[in-house]
Structures are given as C-alpha cells and as structure tokens.
C-alpha cells in the first residue's frame, strides 16, 4: 500500500495537519489497522524532501503531527501518474500451501489433513470478515469484499487440490 500517494491524494482536497492526515488515512483506507506514528513521520519527511508537499502552517508544539502540509504541483502530478498506472497483478506462484502439500506427499505424511486444517482456518477468517462486513458501511464492505474474494480463491484451490490429491501423490512420490 502506498502511504505516500494516499497522503498526497488526501492533501489534494485541502491542506491538513499530520495528525489529521493520519486519522483520515486510518479511517478510510486502513480501518482496524492504524498507521504507526513512525510511518507517518517517515512518509511525510520523504514527501517533503522530494518536494511533493510543503509545510504551510505550524501549531504550537513539536513534531510533524503539529505541522500543516499542502500538496505541491509536483505532488499532484505524482498522484496522477500513480493512479493512471495499473498495479502489477500478483501471480502468487510461490505458494507455501502448495509446497506444504507436496512435501507432505513426498514424505508420506497425510496431506489431506493439511488441506482440512487450512480450509477450516480460511473459513473461520471468512466468517470473521463477513461479520465485520455485515456491520460496516459501504467503504468497510468493499474492503472486506476484497479480502473475502481472495480468501475464497484460496479455498477453491484447497478444494480442487483435495480432489486431485491421489493424482498428485502418484507424480511426486519417488
């Protein structure tokens, strides 16, 4: 997640203080997982150094939280470039789960149990995310849906692999 670009985008609406920026970010993009103050500080220093933001006001007191920041033209261009470029799709080709299954089969351990335990864990998390989604507003629902679709994809893979375990065993056993 690009914290820097998100900050720049949030600053496009209006200049904000450091603490306000952190709160807006936590609320919109990272509910339940607030940024550390260190991350906020490091990100703002980098944006300042690169000329993407400037300080346009100070409150009494110390630290970056008390400064008010405004985005520069270079900062706006930076957000624009980021938004217009597609993210690299994550290929997930090095799956820990696949490795575990193959190793279990190679060493004569019960691979189906590994799949069952994982399935249970995935569905448990899906139920948790679903509960959160049910109680949440639209923003929260969309964040949860993104997680749910990925978890579902994993679960489908677990089912498919369970159905093909004998076939796979025949190939990987020495």
């Amino acid at each position: 997640m690009s914290i820097g670009h998100s900050f720049l985008g949030l600053l496009e609406g209006k200049p904000r203080h450091g603490y306000d920026l952190k709160r807006a970010y936590d609320e919109r993009f990272s509910p339940g997982r607030p940024l550390h103050h260190g991350q906020v500080y490091a990100t703002l220093s980098r944006l300042l150094k690169n000329g993407l933001v400037v300080v346009d006001g100070l409150e009494p007191g110390e630290g970056p939280e008390r400064k008010r920041y405004a985005v520069t033209d270079a900062g706006i261009t930076d957000v624009q470039t980021w938004l217009s470029q597609p993210e690299k799709p994550e290929p997930y080709l090095q799956s820990v789960l696949y490795t575990k299954v193959v190793l279990a089969l190679m060493t004569g351990r019960p691979a189906d149990e590994i799949l069952d335990v994982q399935r249970t864990e995935h569905l448990r998390l899906m139920r948790e995310v679903t509960r959160r989604k049910t109680g949440g507003d639209l923003a929260e629902q969309l964040i949860c849906d993104h997680a749910l679709f990925h978890l579902e994809a994993d679960l489908r893979w677990l089912e498919l692999t369970a159905a093909r375990l004998n076939e796979l065993a025949a190939r990987v056993r020495p």
Binding site: D116, R119, R124, L148, E152
Partner: protein, 226 residues
C-alpha cells in the same frame, strides 16, 4: 451450549446401488446456522432431506426435539414439517398461479390461519425481505433474486424452528446471492430459527456459525476435529 434440537446419527441411504449416505451424522442446536459443504454428489441434499423427514434413511436415526422422526406417522411428520420446519430451494418452489403474497401465505393457510390474517403477516415478511413491492405480482413476473426473497419469506412466515436451505443462492449472481443469504441469516437470527444451509459458495457459507463437510456420504465436522 444449548440443547441439541435436531440430531441425525449414523444415517445410511442407498438409491438402487448408489450409496448416497454412508454413516452421516449431524447435530443442529437451536438458533445456529450450519453450512453444509462438499463436492457435487457427496450426499448433501440427501442428508438435508433425511434430517427434514422428507426422505426416510435406510438406517440410522433422526431425532427432533427429543422425538424420532422416522417413528412418527405420515400425518404427524407432515404436520411437523409444516409447523416447525421451513424450506428454501434453489428454484422452482413458488406456485406460478398464485401471487407472491399468496405464495408466502400458503403455509399459514394450510395451517388454518384465515386469509386476511395470513396475508397481513405475509406482507410484513415481504417487507422485511425488501420485496414488499412485488406482493401482487405472479412469480413469472419477478426476477430470480426477488423470487428467492419471496421463497425465504415463505419459509419464515410460520416462524419455524429449523429452516432447510438447499443452495438458496445457487441460481443468483454473487451480489444478489449474498444479499439473499444476509437477509435469510438476519431473519433466522431475529426469530431464533436454526438454519441448515447447503451451499457450494464459501462466501455464502461464511454467513454461518460453523461448517460441516460431506465427503462420500459421510459428514465431517472439521472444526471439532481440529
């Protein structure tokens, strides 16, 4: 934990030479939502039909609220299904000649509730499922998603103790399917009904309290084992 409400033990069922259930057991507690998953042909629907007293198992017992279902007379069993159980299937469950509100009112009418009262309660349920506006339409005039909501309303209108739902979202796109599941789950929680939910879709199963997997006619409670 609450008392078990519906307990199937060591259920066996053959269709000709095809074993559909081979020693399947499942316990449902009052008010809980249990997802039944498993690959096609593994025996999920057969298990649901046995638990609901629609199919008689070759062997094993089904006990509902302390009474063995297979020991009941046909009359007792259908009265039980009408009063204590509700059903939602994948499709084709609404009577095409009746309006939606008449469809929902049907179980109440069969149980001797007067038309006016039955339709009043049915309209309330249609409103709850956010399809109050289709009350006067025929099933052929509404969308699949609306039809499933009407079917859920019909399953819940008698305020049953157990709702049996076999792929209730199977014919819907994911947004509508989830909405139906969410409304079904909410309605069940509001009325304290337990739900036996057969589904292929993990995102639908995630609305349940727990999951049971059926494999080759045997049901596994992975969570209890783990």
């Amino acid at each position: 934990m609450t008392e078990p409400l519906l307990v199937g033990t060591d259920l066996f069922k053959m269709y000709g030479t095809t074993p559909a259930l081979r020693g399947s057991s499942l316990t449902i507690r009052a008010g809980e939502i249990v997802a039944v998953m498993g690959s096609s042909g593994s025996g999920k629907s057969t298990l649901l039909h046995c638990l609901a007293g629609i199919v008689r198992p070759d062997d094993g017992t089904v006990v509902y609220a302390g009474r063995e279902i297979s020991a009941m007379s046909d009359v007792e069993r259908s009265a039980l299904r009408r009063r204590d159980f509700g059903f939602v299937f994948q499709f084709g469950q609404l009577v095409p000649e009746l309006t939606c509100v008449e469809n929902v009112a049907l179980p109440l009418r069969l149980d001797g509730v007067r038309r006016k009262e039955a339709e009043r309660r049915s309209r309330e349920w249609l409103d709850r499922l956010e399809v109050g506006d289709v009350a006067g339409k025929l099933p052929g005039q509404i969308s699949g998603g609306q039809g499933q909501r009407v079917a859920v309303a019909r399953a819940l209108v008698t305020e049953p103790k157990v709702v049996f739902a076999d792929e209730p979202t199977g014919a819907l796109d994911s947004l509508n399917g989830e909405k139906v599941m969410q409304l079904l789950g909410q309605a069940a929680r509001d009325t304290g009904a337990a739900v036996v939910l057969v589904t292929h879709e993990p995102r639908v199963a995630a609305y349940a309290d727990r999951e049971v997997v059926v494999r080759d006619g045997a049901s596994l409670d992975l969570e209890r084992v783990a």
